[in-house]
Amino acid sequence: MKFKFSRQNLSPKEQSQERILEIIPGLLSWSVLLGIPALSAFSPHIASGIIIAFMLYWLLRMFYIAIFLVLSYFRLACEKQTDWQARIAILDQGGNPQGPHREIKGQISDWLFSRDLKRYRKSKAARMASADVCHLVILTVSNESSEIVAASVQGLVQSRFAAQQIIPCIALEASAPETIRQDIFDMQRNQKNHFKDFLVFIHPEGIAGEAKVKGANATYAARQAEIYFQEHKIPFENIIVSCFDVDTIADPNYFGCLTYSFMICPERDRASFQPIPVYYNNIWEVPGFARVLEMGASFFQMIEVTNPEKLVTFSSHSMSFKALTEIDYWPVDMISDDSAIFWKALLHYDGHYRVIPIHVTVSMDIAVGKNTWKTITGIYKQKRRWAWGVENFPILMRGFMHNQKMPLLIKLRHGIKMLEGNLSWATIPFLLTLVGWLPLLWSNNAFANTTFYYGSNRVVSVIFGLSTIALLTTILISVALLPKKVSRYSLFWVVIHALEWCLLPFVFIIFSAAPALEAQTRLMLGKYMDFAVSKKRASA
């Protein structure tokens, strides 16, 4: 279906629809946040019942999450030693998985491979040779220092997959300082030989219909690359495009795993490939609250990849270049281009598009400022930008309303998940805090003389206690995933890092719920956000 995935240049009817839909997420969140305390004041009985229902939901959700986090962690551990090159060779040569592994993780990985292979061979998908695969890696640069870009490019050089099949493509904003521009061109000259080619495109300012967003820069670079591929006669169906944040350092296995996943995917032109984004580049250099927050963000993504049916692209990811051109690239007027590209594809292909998780990590920077205050404000703004992904909701809903071919189940699955996700994001940390305070609020009330007051307090405190078990599991896995600390590894620092987890409730209110609520409120009030680049590391 042809659908303009934008809130610009709409007809009056579409504009009204858009405006109404923009109000819904914020209105829902505010209704919950104000409704529960108001209800607590006027009808403590009903409020207590709702709180028990909410806390039970929270507990089961925590355990549900913990189970999938464990599974995701286990899957990641299973694939850690996988030789992707060997698997690609098997796909190329049509062989079978190698002999049995001694260790259980390897055996599981092989079993999963055999299963995928069987499915692939049964499918009628066109076979593809790995030698034909070409990787276009777009790195968008606004004003980030060349050191950050160089680290990302170095990551590509160190890829276990043949760098000669990779084309880095720096999408540089015309407004970038001259020094950065020079550095990028120097880098192109020096690094070109490592790769199939090294492209640099300068995104001019003031293109009609564009906003100052990353998607506009990436789209311009992809359009230029399209011309390049046509000139070099490289078929689009052989190209995998990866759009990376400039600070993304791909795991050496990333392109191997991606190539394998792309080759074995029966409908590779109808899928995006999502690695697990982690924020480990500078994790030991940032304040404790930022470390706790980003570990939370990383494990959230780990959980997400276990649910491919509802998985949406986030941050750095890859997809077929053919699909990218067919859906007319990233939105050029939206901040949340990383998820918007998936929604665009989903609508374009009438629901026949999905995200395939790939079990490797891409590591990024945690936003840091020159001092703690700047780090705090920087992180807050970054999370608010992430939460601004809620801008997709009204557009997507309009798209669903227009698209008659897409199955209702897919519409419901994604629509409900998006709404519930935004509602939970903005309200759960606040509600959990409020639940702790309510007994005190009611202590002088007539309600304090009822069995329900004591009974609900008891139930809620038991649930809190049980949810701690699930929370501890997530913390332990997050810690297990962390890169080993180079310095300051003494008992003192171990204790300090453990204590950092006590910041969790505050961190999630200030840097998760509050920015999400602000983003939803802005959308509700029509006060749209502009794109701002997060400062990544002090050198930036």
């Binding site: 207590s48 019942g49 028990i52 229902a53 039970l56 939901y57 089961l60 355990f63 549900y64 189970i67 999938f68 599974l71 276990t306 649910n307 491919p308 049916e309 305070w437 007994p439 005190l440 609020l441 009611w442 202590s443 002088n444 007539a446 309600f447 304090a448 003389n449 009822t450 069995t451 329900f452 007051y453 004591y454 009974g455 609900s456 008891r458 139930v459």
Partner: protein
Amino acid sequence: MQLLRKILFALFFSLYVVLCPLLILYALGYIFTPHGKESLTRTGLIRLVSYPSKAKIFINGKNTGEITPATFSSLRQGSYRVRVEKQDYLTWQADVQINPSHAEVIDPLILVPKEKQFKKISDASFDSIIPILKTDYLLLFRGNKIKDTAVYSLSKETIKPLAVKDFTYDGAEIMHIFNQQKDTQVVFKLKHKGKNRFVILDLTKEGTAFKDITSLFIDPDKTENVFWQPENRRHLFVRRGDIIDKIDLDAEAVTPEWVDGILGFGMGENEVFVLKKNLLITKKVSDEEKPEAYPVPLQFQAAFDARQHYKIEKLEKDIFLFIGDQGDFIVSRPPYQMIDEDIHGFEIEKKHKQVLLWTKHQIGIMQFEEDSSKDSPFEPGPAIHWLFTKASRIEKAFFAHDGSHVLFQDKDRVYLARSELYAGEKANEFFRVWEGTHFYYAEQKGSFYFLDRRNSYLISWKLIPDEVLLQFMRTSEQEKEGKTA
């Protein structure tokens, strides 16, 4: 993974659907008895919090194995004999009636030590004792002359003469003492060489001589009462008959007849209340704002006795109490006149909107708390429940610890009781005081002060040990925070 996810989702969803109503029913106090007459029964509970804690709890004679603080839920309707025991403390026992969905909260329950270790504070005898309520000071009298009066500081544990040496009015007789709760400023009406004098003193300022403020009184002989607010000590309001004069201590000026024709007078935070025949006027102390006048209903007017002067107290925004100097007690809510008997005294406890009042033989608590059942078409009025009705002669009564307990003196015997007594629950008799004198309980110290019945020495007795008191204060603070929040 997808299949596993679907199975787990179905499992968790089913768990939620089953558990959620069960948990809510459990919290509401429902219990399920498969073979009972009524399979689903709504129960009640008992919450017990004692000071000190860790006391053993027995219900219907059986040791529950629980120690305080504890909650006993799923109790069917009926009467339960609850006993609380702790070594070195008197056993507390009561028959607690349990009603469905209702929580019987026995918090705080102050346990009384078996052994009373009285501490002698003075080696000299006194005739009487007047506490400056909710401050650090007690006034001790030996006769009624200034020179024979002493001040005891609770925190410093020192007794000092009230007046400095060679005080002009050393030999003057104390005719009346005017003071306000929570304020260390005291005004004395003295009789010196046949003339009435008014002197003022701040008890915290040691060695400071009294200040004679008689010149600011329009008619010292006819002065009946002096009012002020601890937050605004500068302004004194002097009542003589149906007239109020306003004194500005800083400016040493007086506004005669600031208000006249009054039936009653009282003070709140930075405001005064004036009762006229058909109007209740609230007026700012500063005179900056226009007074507000409220017409008095006819039925309310009929309740007043024009021969009495009424002291006005504000309990809440819209609840006023009028206490006549001959024992009338009238409230601003129907039925206005609550008791026929003359009251001998009262004390207000604002936190729970309750008033402790006593007559010669009875002690009662008047509750203004809103009725939780708003389904009734009738507006609930204030209600008095009588704690004791057969006392010999109530001398004094106090609320203690946020109104949870009542301390009272019947003739020379001092008792402690919880404000809401269960059947079978008794007031504890503590000690006896010097005939004709009163006791004082300093809540912040958990200690009693009184004159010994045998030799009239000043004695103290600590009811609540410091560590328990600390625990107690902490809980009260948390409750207050809750209320503020």
